[in-house]
Amino acid sequence: MSTKDNSYASVMARKNEIMKISTGLDYDTYAHSPIAFDYERMMDDTGYTMEDIVRIQHETKVGNTPLFELHNLTRAVRKISEPGKGARILLKDEAANASGSFKARRAAVSVFEAASKGYKGVIAATSGNYGAAVASQAVQRGLKCIVIQEVYDSRGVGQPEIVEKGRKCEAYGAEVIKLTVGPELFYIHLLTLEETGFFNSSLYTPFAVKGVESLGWEIGNEVRERYGKAPEAVIITHAGGGNLTGTARGLLAAGCEDTRVVACSVDLSGLHMASDHDFNRKSFTTGHTGFGVPFATWPDRADVPRNAARSLRYMDEYHLVTQGEVFYITELLTKLEGIERGPAGNTSLTAAVALARQMDEDEIIVVQETEYTGAGKHHNSQLSFARENGIEVRRGDPIDNIPGKTIVIPERLDQVWGRAEDIDHLRRSYLRNAARLRPLSDWDEEDVSFLAEDLKTEQNWIRLQMQEMNGE
């Protein structure tokens, strides 16, 4: 038994020490200031080349997933587009990875790292597909696995999708710690890391984010091989930022410098993510703005001191879609393309339909993931559950969607538009968060240079914002 003080405040105060032991990384060595740090050196220091990543993933049934052209959906989009418009829509079928999602790529490298450093087990704090991915990789590498999940509201009611994700973790032999709603999940995470001495298989370590690079790499290379050019756009479901960061880095490694990197989230504006009441009033458990916006505007809120997933560093556009639009497209994918996939993975497919309409016929847009589907993790389960929880579900114009109140499923494909989010607005929000960590008056050249890179913008733009913030 531990003789340490395990109160909430004491454990939180030991955060940095626990992180150092459980990741094997000393994040302090990369820091220049409370804001600036050497991101690329942190990524390089993992020591994994693209060839290493591909090999490691191949060993554990990850990667080299099919890239399908969605002929019927593309044709349907062209029918509702202006003449000459309607880009070719491709879909990377990540459900084919062990455990059924792209998260296996992150887990593969993270668990390999844990095994090679001699840890006896791994811990992941996630209610998403990542838990099953880590469990599946751990069992293949002979490591024990604990998954910590936020599952229930105070009535003991769990969303069918999260319940299913818990089942899948247990199916792979993981211990699953199931919790009620609240940010104290991080406290349990730290406590369990300390008690077990296991590796922190966080979604946000450089190892996990490196693991996604193979996804962008495969897309870039395969599109060029089959179509003789890089894709014009790759659209990525965005939550914590690792999917976008890793894919974009992989695309760059494959030489796709001009490919537009488009983020997409389900718009859940108005719902509080840590609210017991709101918890079961949302029909998406990830890929939504409740993670996408806060993680874009301050990545270092993650469970590691310096997040390797930094979405604004790579994002060109951010597109939001409604719950009803995603459910519509999920059903349409099944009926038109003959493949059944989970709704969360279809978030970016929904935005792809809207964007393809505005692109030329000879252009290519790639939807870079799918996820498995089954009982609980299915749009029918989610809609049935929403209705039982007092949410109105109807067909109509998706513009009438109200998160937590109404899900409006489009009546026709030409109603699927979503909306573009203003990225500069996100960038300014990031800067305000940075100013909370280090007063604006203390920002030096190193900070400005880091911020420009981290926000994919110019140093002059940062200086202009600083002047405006000074005036506030």
Binding site: Y8, P183, E184, S275, H277, T334, G376, H379, S384
Partner: protein, 94 residues
């Protein structure tokens, strides 16, 4: 009531934080509720539902808590028919 024999697969519950102990950042409605956790494991000694018991989890960790479920199972499903989905993909061409 017959006691649950040692070795049975059970679910235990424990209150991690009482409402007063919850994190400062928690919204008001959540702050009214305790922070609760559940874990499944094999019962170490015979016990009763509602009793404090020890379990060994699937990976061999020793944990304790209130026994709440015996042979905890999953019942999630595809839900009830959602009529709004039925015509999608069959109507779009018309």
């Amino acid at each position: 009531m017959a006691s649950i024999p040692a070795g049975t697969w059970v679910e235990i519950e424990s209150v991690v934080l009482t409402p007063e102990e919850r994190a400062p950042s928690v919204p008001e409605d959540t702050k009214l509720t305790p922070y609760v956790m559940w874990v499944s494991g094999f019962l170490v000694e015979d016990g009763e539902v509602g009793e404090e018991v020890h379990v060994k989890t699937i990976i061999g960790r020793a944990l304790s808590g209130k026994l709440v479920r015996v042979n905890p199972n999953y019942t999630h499903s595809f839900g009830k028919v959602v009529p709004e989905l039925l015509k999608i993909g069959t109507e779009w061409e018309r």
